[in-house]
Assembly symmetry: C2
Homo-oligomer: 157 residues x 2
Amino acid sequence: MKSSNAKFDDLVLRQTLQENGHRYTDQRAAVFKHVARSRVHPTAEDVFLDVRTEVPGISLATVYKSLEMLVNCGLAKKLNLDDGSARFCGRTEPHHHARCLACGALSDVPGELGDSEVAALRLQAKTFHLVGYELELTGYCSDCAPSMGNGAGASAN
Amino acid sequence: MKSSNAKFDDLVLRQTLQENGHRYTDQRAAVFKHVARSRVHPTAEDVFLDVRTEVPGISLATVYKSLEMLVNCGLAKKLNLDDGSARFCGRTEPHHHARCLACGALSDVPGELGDSEVAALRLQAKTFHLVGYELELTGYCSDCAPSMGNGAGASAN
DNA sequence: GTATCTGCAAATTTTTTGCCAGTAG
DNA sequence: CTACTGGCAAAAAATTTGCAGATAC
């Protein structure tokens, strides 16, 4: 089901680090493992607390440094949610993010915008040279869904 | 062309504040004016520096408080870009945001996702009750567009 | 008149940095 | 070996808070 397992991830990390002129260390491996396999979009501090159980001596500064390096190498992405928190995401498949307005939970929504939609955006963007996008959905998760029964218009901005 | 002018904005602000049980003050008016008419998506500090020329005594804390209030009243939106900066946006028409990967400039792209696309998202999101979305486009602005000639695939996440 | 504001400064929170010993390659 | 790293503690940046005097209504 999963196209990646711990060993494969480790190889990818090792190689990517090397390609970018960085060294493979236990700390980086642990940070990467947690980010890549987490589906909760942890904050830097979350990662720190998690990873600390595995690499007891690791410092928060190291976690920050490792995360930044992973982002620079393209192995992770930094998400700045509209609620203001910075989260990290190690997923590589295209997907969107759905944030619950009530409980703040962030979940992945697989899929990507249709080609025609992207083409339309490219037109709308005029001279802007479109390379990628990040779509944050807002609404209510199944746990928080308020007692309203309709699904009327989602709106941009 | 513009549906709003300073006086109209001021009325809107006055009324909206009142509806929400807040008072109209010069500081809030100045903050609102700058955010509503700015097309540069300023940070809180940007707003502070701008507004200070008009309301010399205003403090940064007041700007933060005013901005938060405007956001709560729906008169402005807080954008947390994936480059990490928090910006404020006073536009009300639906639009997306395009961020240049080279110079960091943020520009508006008018338009919204098509109904069919939103319907598709709603399906993909399954039990998530979709209410709205925020789309951040990334790429290169006309000033920075690199010497690459193609427009190959924009990708999610 | 009075509850709501503002400005100030201090407190938080989040993230970054400098430095020296430690370690990967 | 030697340059890149990690940990630590301090610094910096970003945002929030408490409070006393000022002000909208």
